[in-house]
Every structure is written in C-alpha cells, then in structure tokens.
C-alpha cells in the first residue's frame, strides 16, 4: 500500500475513533433531551470532570482500568444529584432557564477544577499493552484508537440491548414519547429521569476517561468536544439516536480529513456543516421537533 493510501486509512481510523467518542457523549445528551426536554450544556463539563477524576485516581496509584471504572461512576452519581436537586426544580420554567442553569454549572465545574488542579496540561497515559502499534494486513494501526472504537461499539450494542430488550428500556422509550402518560400509568417518572440523567452523565464520563490519554487533561478539554457533541445532537435531530450516530461518524471523519487538508480551519468545517443543515432543515436531519 502506498503512502497516500496509508494516510487516508490512518486518518479514517482517527476520524472513526473520534466519531465514536462523539457518539458516546451525544447519546447521553440525546437521551436526556428526548426524555426530559433538557438541553444539558453541562454535559461536556461532566466529561472534563471525569477525566480529572481519572487523573486523580492515577495519582493515588490506581491504574487505567480502575480509573475507567470508578471515575465515570462518580461523575454519573454527581450528575444524578444535579438532576435531583437543581434541574428538576426549574425544568418547568422554560428552555432559557435550563440552558442558563447548565451553563452556570459549566462555569462552576471549570472554576472548581481550576481551583483544585490548576490550569496546566496533566498527563494520563494509556495502559500498558495498549500504547503500541498493531500490524493488520501490512498496515500499522495505533492500538489505543482501535480500543476506543471497540469500547464505544461495545457500549453502543449494550445500550441498544437495554433500550430495546428490557423493561427499563421500554419505560425509557415510552417516557421519551410521552412522559406524562407514563407517569399516569403509575411509573415513577421522576426517578426514571434521574436514572437516565445519571446514566447519560456516566457515558460522558466514560468518554472523558477514554479520550484523556489522547489529548491529556486540562480545564478546557470539554469545550471543543462538547461543542462537537452539541452539533451532533442538533444536526442529527433532537432525540434521535440513529441521527446522532450517523452525524457523529460523519463529523469525526470530516474532522480528521479536515485536519489533514485544511488544518487551520478544521474546527470551522463542523460549524459550517451544522449551519448548512439547520438552514435547510431547522429540526435537524432526523428530528421532528425543534
């Protein structure tokens, strides 16, 4: 295989890995939006917070796998608390308040993180045995990217199984389409909301830990990824998991090839893509509501 083809494949792998990460984050956002109608701007803040938890666990002597299990769990728990004690009280007061409250949470999270860990870039290395290259069919692939793709796929399948094969998934899907009716049927919808918010935050946290070895940990880690995840949710259509998946992969690839060819303006491509989609179809590609 010649050099340029190898470049295409390598960038493709990078793009796919980033796209799957975006989907992990966007899936949580979309689930939360679909069920509760909350556009959670703090989602990326939780993603960043989880990376810091992972770093702290590694400082305390835990290895990568310990961090991968515990950091997202702590983050998810915090997310559930935020839903219970803050968001639940203002959900009914409208979109502006939800967006502003969650953005205020971002300020608080960033402020606290800077107070505790400072603003420098902190290392969080990939685990032993995953930081090399692997040889498949005469091509070198970075193992960790493949691991990122693998773990995201595993989680995607896990989520589909839960959503479509279990009773809990049935309740969640029902609550997405009509929360009031589900509540009237005697199911404790506020509790389901809290659990979904917690699980969504857990997924963002997982993405944060998984991506940390690639980009290293810093307070503004959530900014770009969070933006991209929002673009995914909005262009995919609010509340549509399939749309989110498709757009996440497209954006990941656009980003990777964009960095290759027009490196200076790679970030702009994402937003131009979103602006074009929204200008043509304000509800997003697969969305039915605004």
């Amino acid at each position: 295989m010649d050099a340029s083809a190898a470049m295409y494949v390598a960038q493709g792998i990078h793009g796919l890995a980033y796209g799957m990460m975006l989907f992990l984050i966007a899936a949580g956002l979309t689930l939360i939006f679909g069920m509760m109608g909350i556009l959670n701007l703090a989602h990326a803040g939780f993603f960043m917070l989880s990376a810091y938890f992972a770093y702290q666990i590694s400082v305390w002597g835990g290895n990568y796998w310990v961090a991968l299990i515990f950091a997202p769990l702590i983050t998810g728990f915090i997310g559930a608390l935020v839903e219970r004690f803050l968001l639940r009280k203002i959900v009914a007061t409208g979109l502006a308040n939800q967006l502003l409250l969650t953005q205020a949470l971002v300020f608080v999270i960033i402020g606290l993180v800077q107070a505790k860990w400072g603003t420098e870039y902190l290392p969080f290395p990939a685990p032993e045995g995953l930081n090399g290259l692997v040889n498949i069919a005469g091509m070198q692939y970075p193992e960790y990217r493949l691991f990122m793709i693998g773990i995201s796929f595993a989680l995607l399948i896990f989520m589909i199984l839960i959503l479509y094969k279990t009773r809990l998934g049935m309740i969640v899907r029902a609550a997405v389409s009509d929360a009031e009716m589900v509540n009237a049927l005697g199911i404790n919808v506020p509790l389901v909301f809290m659990v979904v918010f917690g699980v969504g935050t857990w997924m963002a946290g997982l993405a944060g830990v998984v991506i940390a070895p690639v980009v290293s940990v810093h307070p503004y880690l959530g900014d770009q990824v969070g933006m991209d995840a929002f673009v995914v949710v909005i262009t995919g259509g609010f509340g549509s998991l399939g749309g989110a998946f498709l757009v996440a992969i497209v954006l990941g690839l656009l980003n990777a090839y964009g960095i290759q060819f027009v490196s200076q303006y790679a970030m702009v491509i994402t937003f131009v893509f979103m602006a074009v989609v929204l200008a043509i179809k304000p509800t997003g590609l697969f969305g039915e509501r605004e």
């Binding site: 203002i90 502006a96 502003l100 205020a104 608080v108 402020g111 107070a115 200076q264 979103m274 304000p282």
Partner: protein, 332 residues
C-alpha cells in the same frame, strides 16, 4: 405617580452628577463607569432579543466583535479618519453582519437559534484567531490613533484625555440606550413583545413575523456594535479574548438574567451588579468565573425574575401595606 417637575428635577440632578462624576471620583472610577456603561449597552442590545422578542442567543459577542474590529481596523488602516466615521464604520459592520446572517437565523427559534449562534460565535472566534495578518490573532490590534472629536473650524476635543473621553462615552452610550428604549416604545416594539408572547397570533393579525424579527435582530446587532466600537476606542486595543470569545458572549446573558429580562432597565441593573461583584471578587480571588456561575445558579433557582423582579416584589409589598392601611382607615 411622579409629576413632570419631579421627573425633570431628577433628570437634571442625574446629568449634573454625571458631569461632576469624573472630577469627584477620579480617573479610576470614571474608567470603571465607562466599562460598566459598555456592558450595560451590550446587555440592553441583547435584551432586545431575549426579553422583548423572546430569542435566546448564545453568540451575541459576534456583533460586539464586529463593531470593535470594524472601528479598530478602520483606524489602523485609514489615515486621518475622524472619530465619528470610525464609530459609524464599527456600527455598520455589526449591522452588516446581522444583515448577512438574518436570512438564516430569522427563521429558526428556541434551541436551534441559541445553538446556531453558539456555532457562529465559535466560527468567528476561530477566524479571528487564525486570520493573523488581518486581526493580529491572539494579540489583537492595539496602539492605533484615537482621533480627536472635532467639529471642523469650531472645536476639537482630545479623546486621549480620560475626562473628555468620559463625557464622549457617556453621550454616545447614553444616547444609544435612549434610542433602544425609544425603539421599544414604537409600534415595532409592541410587535416584538407580541412575537415573544405568541408569534402565531401576530402572524394572524397580518404582521409579518420573520421580517420583523430580522429588523429587530439588525437593530440589536447595531447597538451591540456601538458597545464594541466604544470598547475599542476606550481601551485603544481589541483582541479575540474579551470581544468575541464565548465567555464574553455570556456576559450580556448574565447581566440580563441577573438584572431581570422583563424590564428595559433590568440589564442595566445586572451590568451594575456584575461590575461591582467583579470589582469586589477580583480583590479576594482569581475565580471570577466560579463566583459568576454560583450567582447565576442562585438567581435562576430562587429569583427567576432577577433584581428588577425583586425590587417590584418589595415595592408591591410596601404599597399593598399602604393600600391596606388606607382601606382600613376609610370608613372611620
């Protein structure tokens, strides 16, 4: 209510105290006042969208930036450009940007409007950082000449004198605030409120919703452009951070929500609260963002109508007690 004499008296007293302000409090506090007034005008321009038309935008800083960069670039590249044309160039570049964007944004609402603006703000921020040869990247543009304010053949004021600039800023910013207030009292202002409350009904009444929104959007952008251009003149520099960054896009939102979006004067109160709050917090801690976030959470949770709402509530309680007293005393 207040009779005309008292009203005029208050106006005159206000103007006199403004005129004496820089002489009494000195240069530090007159600069503090200009900073506050710029934020206040920025927040008022934002509230034309949020409070009056019901459009939540997360990217109003693009217009502040367009105004600031417009003025700064004009002063940098055009030799001998007088002050007022420089200011107008800034304002028109903000309005022009709004004119370009409004075919896209006037049709979308709610979350899509908010997020689309967040995207525009990001695009603008990145472009400003990357187009180094035009905008100076992270360092921005600084050290351009601030021309004197002159009426040819009659009078010329040196704008590098802080006290003279204070008067100029008060006139321009105050005048813009008055214009914005006037705008909300015109029939257009009434339609804006109608669109906020129920755009479908406004549509059925025969008003055209989308063009109206576009007009409001351009006005709002122009006022933000005034704030940006004045900021560029005031600081004699403009850089990406502090003009078109996301944190700056949230400044008018914070001021509007904390002050109260339901009133024209809410954003001014909010800007004042934040100016004082920042002045105080920076003496104790570096974490202004953290304090702002906590204040915002408390306001949204417990005082959803902001400072103005709080004032109204207190006034109503006082008045209701007075009214109750009158009612009790009447029969006797």
């Amino acid at each position: 209510m207040m009779n005309n004499k008292v009203k005029w008296g208050l106006w005159v007293a206000g103007l006199i105290s403004l005129a004496l302000y820089p002489h009494i409090f000195g240069i530090y506090f007159s600069n503090f006042f200009i900073t506050f007034a710029i934020v206040a005008l920025f927040a008022i321009s934002y509230n034309l969208l949020l409070g009056y038309t019901g459009l939540l935008s997360f990217g109003h800083a693009i217009f502040f930036g367009a105004g600031g960069y417009g003025t700064a670039l004009a002063l940098e590249h055009i030799n001998g450009l007088p002050l007022i044309p420089a200011l107008l160039i800034g304002i028109f570049s903000a309005a022009l940007l709004a004119l370009i964007l409004c075919p896209i944004v006037a049709r979308v609402r709610h979350a899509a409007f908010a997020m689309l603006h967040l995207a525009f703000n990001y695009i603008m921020y990145i472009c400003v950082l990357k187009l180094r040869h035009i905008t100076g990247g992270e360092d921005g543009i600084a050290g351009y000449n601030i021309p004197p304010f002159s009426i040819p053949g009659i009078v010329s004021f040196d704008m590098t004198d802080p006290i003279l600039f204070f008067y100029f800023a008060v006139v321009v910013l105050g005048g813009s605030m008055w214009l914005a207030w006037f705008l909300t009292k015109t029939p257009l202002g009434q339609i804006m409120v109608g669109i906020r409350d129920n755009d479908m009904r406004v549509d059925y009444m025969g008003f055209r919703v989308v063009p109206t929104k576009a007009v409001v959007y351009i006005f709002s952008a122009a006022f933000a452009g005034v704030a940006g251009a004045m900021s560029a003149l005031f600081q004699n520099m403009i850089a990406a951070d502090g003009s078109v960054d996301i944190a700056h896009a949230f400044q008018p939102i914070l001021a509007t929500i904390v002050g109260g979006a339901s009133s024209f004067f809410g954003p001014i109160a909010g800007a004042g609260i934040f100016a004082v709050l920042e002045e105080v917090t920076t003496r104790f801690t570096q974490r202004v963002e953290l304090v702002n976030g906590i204040v915002l959470i408390i306001v949204i949770m417990y005082f959803p109508s902001g400072f103005i709402g709080l004032v109204r509530m207190i006034r109503e309680r006082l008045f209701s007690r007075l009214i109750a007293k009158e009612v009790m005393e009447e029969p006797s």
